[in-house]
């Protein structure tokens, strides 16, 4: 066959096939462990450790899930996580919106320095703050409290959230609030009524990021709490094996439930996430 036909075959058949192959390979690499987690969680504890193991449970049972709430302080872990993550997320995003508006509309001295400052704080290794935070929170008597962790989580999520919101606000034309203010709106009203509603996609994706980062956080939750009734989910499930012997079906069930909020939040808002990365953060 001639050259033209061959290159058309390359374009229409070969390259797409290679693409599907590679994508499928990696998708499999991702899905197999996840599905194994699901499968184990639906088994009885005896079947979970039987050999040879099968991918599909011989006897599907929800007993692991039921036991979670009864025999482990799982409900407590869940409650702690919800409170801490939600509060820190709301505060972070709120402050980030304020800053986004301030930096994008008003020329004040140090404006450029502020954006750079936010970017730099993002790059701090959190382990560096381990010793000082532990010491400070200790002195404030906030070890093993919700407030202590809320404060720490705000310190993580604020830099990136601010950076994203600054990018987002910058992409909104100033004519809108300018017109509103010329028509008599105060600055606050222009912010709250005119501009903020337009940044809802940005708020959605910043919130997703804040939520997932805080929900999944381990190190500081581990170090700043020391009693089981204050542990967050992330830390609590890693310690479930201390309760009796390790029942792997329970552990996998716990893992699944612990991941659900992040999964739900993500799936519900995922289209905002990629879009906003393009619109806001990347365009430096």
């Amino acid at each position: 066959m001639n050259k033209y036909k061959f290159s058309r075959i390359k374009e229409k058949i070969m390259y797409p096939m290679i693409r599907y192959l590679i994508l499928s390979f990696f998708s499999l690499l991702v899905l197999l462990p996840v599905l194994w987690m699901l499968s184990t969680s639906l088994k009885t504890s005896a079947e979970a450790i039987s050999t040879p193991p099968s991918f599909f449970p011989k006897e599907t049972t929800f007993i692991a899930f039921k036991r979670l709430w009864k025999e482990y302080p799982f409900g407590t872990f869940f409650k702690n996580s919800i409170i801490i993550v939600f509060v820190s997320m709301v505060i972070s995003v709120l402050f980030a919106c304020f800053a986004g508006y301030g930096v994008s509309r008003f020329k004040f001295r140090g404006r450029k320095a502020m954006s750079t400052f936010v970017l730099i704080t993002q790059m701090f290794p959190s382990v560096m703050l381990l010793v000082p935070f532990y010491s400070i929170i200790n002195r404030l008597g906030l070890i093993n409290t919700h407030l202590g962790l809320i404060i720490v989580y705000i310190s993580f999520t604020l830099p990136f959230s601010t950076w994203m919101m600054i990018g987002f606000f910058r992409s909104l034309p100033t004519e809108l609030d300018e017109a509103a203010m010329i028509d008599g709106c105060s600055v606050w009203q222009a912010f709250w009524r005119v501009v903020l509603p337009l940044t809802l996609p940005g708020i959605a994706s910043t919130s997703i990021y804040s939520f997932i980062t805080s929900w999944n956080e381990y190190m500081f939750a581990f170090i700043l709490t020391n009693s089981p009734n204050m542990r967050t989910l992330s830390v609590g499930i890693a310690e479930l094996d201390g309760y009796q012997q390790i029942l792997w079906n329970d552990m996998m069930a716990a893992s699944l439930i612990a991941s659900l909020p992040s999964l739900i939040v993500f799936l519900a808002f995922q289209k905002y996430f990629v879009d906003s990365l393009t619109a806001g953060a990347v365009k430096g």
């Binding site: 194994w36 402050f95 004040f108 936010v118 790059m123 290794p125 893992s255």
Partner: protein, 303 residues
């Protein structure tokens, strides 16, 4: 200056400070500035302060000047921790780059199933680190783990191995799990960067007869440069300071085999109660991360 802050300067229409008084800019930014100062800058300096003492944070505060810094290099395993961390980071970030770039390039086009693939390939990022660690601890379990059983039934190995408890395997296994967990972030950032490249740039090249490889080399990479540098820098710092996955997987063991630097700092603080030394190690880590930043910017981000 006050009149300028309040927007009452005599300015032309172009200078919008009468509509947007600079004072409000400062006011709106104040929550973030104050919070970052108290929650990031202050602890930073406080950490440095602690590093000048030998302390257990409760009863003992002996001023030691800079001797902690000498001590950690001479009389502790800090250098080993650093070496392990460098090995770990290079492999993890390296594979993140290769995998992330490949997947981002593939996902950059429109085709059937694009959305499904995106969601699946993002999954590792969504799961909490401790969950992933638990899952792989289960998969690599010496007695009942599916990895051992699969390998045995395929005849690749004879006996079950303790993958996470064996000095030769622990670090590679840990590196693999971290690659699995972390590539989505790199993939996402690169994809976002790729999508920002205007189609015109590509079309101009195609009209001139460029093939795929040339297009990649002369159009894609240069346009992606800024995003690439930032992504690599953030990923390097992120995994150099990493803690959770490795801690839950192995606790830093066996021995010191998987004790990356953040776990080393944890051990120094909460097993040896040498908070001063731990703080000193943290400061060194901070300096190293800054050096990364400078290197990345100078060498790679020449605009």
């Amino acid at each position: 200056m006050t009149t300028k802050l309040l927007g009452k300067s005599k300015s032309s229409y172009r200078d919008k400070s009468s509509v947007f008084p600079p004072l409000y800019g400062i006011l709106f930014s104040l929550p973030v500035i104050l919070t970052l100062f108290s929650l990031v800058i202050y602890p930073l300096f406080y950490g440095f302060y602690i590093s000048l003492f030998k302390t257990n944070l409760v009863s003992r505060w002996d001023y030691r000047g800079l001797t902690n810094y000498v001590q950690i290099f001479k009389h502790s395993d800090f250098l080993i921790y650093l070496a392990t961390s460098f090995k770990f980071t290079i492999f993890v970030v390296g594979f993140h780059l290769i995998i992330g770039m490949t997947l981002a390039l593939l996902l950059n086009n429109e085709f059937k199933g694009n959305l499904i693939f995106r969601v699946i390939l993002l999954l590792p990022w969504i799961f909490p680190e401790s969950v992933i660690a638990l899952l792989f601890k289960w998969i690599f379990n010496p007695l009942h783990g599916i990895f051992n059983i699969a390998l045995q039934s395929l005849g690749i190995i004879q006996e079950s191995q303790s993958w996470l408890g064996n000095s030769s395997f622990a670090l590679p296994v840990v590196i693999f799990v971290c690659i699995w967990k972390g590539y989505p972030m790199v993939m996402m950032m690169l994809l976002a960067g790729l999508q920002a490249i205007p189609i015109d740039s590509y079309e101009a090249a195609w009209i001139d007869g460029a093939n795929r490889f040339d297009t990649f080399r002369y159009i894609t990479i240069p346009s992606l440069r800024h995003v690439l540098v930032i992504t690599l820098l953030l990923d390097t710092i992120w995994w150099f300071k990493h803690y959770a996955l490795v801690w839950v997987l192995t606790g830093g063991g066996p021995g010191n085999d998987t004790t990356i630097v953040s776990i080393g700092i944890y051990k120094e603080s909460f097993e040896f109660f040498e908070f001063g030394k731990a703080a000193a190690m943290s400061v060194v880590v901070f300096i190293i991360c800054n050096i990364f930043g400078i290197i990345y910017q100078r060498k790679l981000d020449r605009e």
